[in-house]
Symmetry: C2
Subunit: 337 residues, 2 copies
């Protein structure tokens, strides 16, 4: 396959150029380019420059506001709310981040609620940004109602990711970010395009029967990971990142979409924790116990959750990234003069 | 099987009598009797009066302090810490609860960190107590290192439960409380006693091979639920309810036990969320979305997580409970004059 070699700076510049030339404000374009570059760098290809195709489509469709003005509201010593004004979530997150960090540093735990945002990105860039400030972070967001609850067959939940980061001194953070669905919706779509069957356990068809047919799965309902436990967690994500902050569940977000098939629009909740405040004088011992935990995992040959991504990051930072030429050309063709 | 019929008040009184006559302070005995009665009421038999046998053994062994004086420390507008003074966790929780509730009501999100506690109870009584105050709650605690990380075969994690409650107006809360291990350790123990094989996926033996032999499983390592996702969550529980609050991981708690096989001693983190502060004027809509979510689950014939427990509760509250006569006699025999 023919590829094009790009530095991370070139990836970022390309993303900004594509987005601004399609009418997006520079502040939004810069915030989005940053996470797209991070996705490409970490070889999370579905969150890399490929996403620009989806972003530009949404901009051209007029479904979302490329000049949205997020409004930061200081709610309390432990809470900040950012209304994203129906723009993409990234700028709202960037504006809320310093307020969240300051509050968590001071009182030990704080929440950032983002409302009315279109959401397409992974959550790990956000929890990693908080870990870079020496704080632990937990983030959740619903999506569209695609996933059946345990014991049911009709879609209720979104793919509802949970992301967590723990800061480590002199090392990349402990980070995970996973969907509470058995598999990402995009993976079922990829199987459909490739004409391949999906494993059992991923989905049921519209009649509620287990299916290995990806098209039938997309018409039916996806399943959660881990049976009734995964289903309970998916419900928690709905409640914490929806009703708790006065925002939409995946069911409501689906209704709001009105069949357009756009990126889900809803809310997001991020909680930041500051060990020195919560642990007091015991924080140093706590930090040591955490490192012993990681040693016990890695020492037996198991991997920490984001190791593959961090390996890719190290490669990309020293050598840049290689992008399939056809994808690069598709992206370039999005630029408007 | 011969049974003894008891009212919930009789269960509570019996528990207090057993504990105080074995030298436990009345304040601790009352706090523990309350959760033991709740366990019996909800037909969570391993957390009912059966637990008194374990509590009394721990008291008589002198491993824990039946007169521990928990110390409440007001850390910040969003955080309270209770040092349990190496007693059972229940009294520490009861003392921290009103402070946690007041803080969460005021600032929207607050944390209760309990340190240096012996922990034997389920977490649902605690998150339900918070939901009864109109707040959502998330609670976690490690245990002893019995569970291998995904990709590994050596025990690192505890059974590491996660519990969550969401308050509902005029209805019992949405509640779940589950171990991040594939199964409770007690279930493997029950299989061993009954001479029954365990299903694959629960555990590996000491050599790291999958096993269906419960005794081999107890010598080896349990597995997490949900593969690498469950493993990531188990690690998060370790970090959030351990190092974050300066307390022990399951590995450290196991070391602290020094082979005695007592109830794990470590910490617990509980986070309370107040929708009206976090959602502001959108809280009413949020509450409606939550009810629509529950309707969509129940309406398709699926169950909410604690339904079985709530059904048992309704039965027990109207008719009392029936306890096997041999268990009742064993408990009575624990009373010292």
């Amino acid at each position: 396959m023919e590829t094009v070699k790009l530095s991370l700076q070139q990836v970022n510049d390309l993303a900004v150029r594509v987005l601004t030339s399609n009418g997006m404000g520079a502040d939004h374009a810069n915030a989005i380019a940053k996470v797209i570059t991070a996705g490409q760098r970490d070889e999370c290809h579905s969150h890399g420059i490929y996403r620009l195709i989806v972003c530009v489509k949404s901009l051209r469709d007029g479904k979302l506001n490329g000049h949205a003005r997020p409004l930061v509201q200081d709610v309390s010593p432990a809470a900040v709310r950012v209304n994203a004004d129906f723009g993409y979530s990234q700028l709202a997150f960037e504006m809320g981040l310093p307020v969240l960090v300051e509050k968590a540093r001071t009182v030990g735990i704080a929440a950032l609620a983002i409302n009315d945002c279109f959401h397409f990105s992974a959550l790990w860039p956000e929890v990693e940004a908080i870990a870079a400030e020496g704080l632990a972070a937990l983030a959740m967001t619903p999506s569209h109602s695609w996933v059946a609850p345990a014991g049911g067959t009709k879609p209720v939940f979104g793919t509802n990711p949970i992301a967590f980061a723990w800061p480590r001194e002199g090392a990349l953070p402990f980070v995970f970010d996973f969907a509470t669905s058995a598999i990402a919706r995009g993976d079922i779509e990829l199987h459909r395009r490739a004409g391949k069957e999906i494993p059992t356990g991923w989905a049921v068809d519209a009649a509620g029967n287990p299916t290995t047919n990806p098209a039938a799965a997309l018409q039916g309902a996806m399943l959660t990971f881990g049976g009734h436990k995964g289903s309970a967690l998916a419900a928690m994500v709905e409640l914490i990142a929806g009703p708790l902050i006065g925002d939409l569940t995946s069911l409501e977000s689906q209704k709001f979409d009105e069949g357009v098939g756009a990126t889900p629009c809803h809310g997001e909740l991020i909680v930041a924790f500051n060990p020195p405040v919560l642990a007091g004088e015991r924080a140093v011992a706590g930090s040591r116990y955490a490192e012993e935990l990681f040693d016990a995992i890695v020492g037996q040959g198991a991997r920490l959750p984001s190791q593959r991504r961090f390996d890719a990051r190290a490669r990309s930072e020293s050598r840049g990234v290689e992008v399939p030429a056809h994808l690069y050309n598709d992206i370039l063709a999005l630029v408007r003069d």
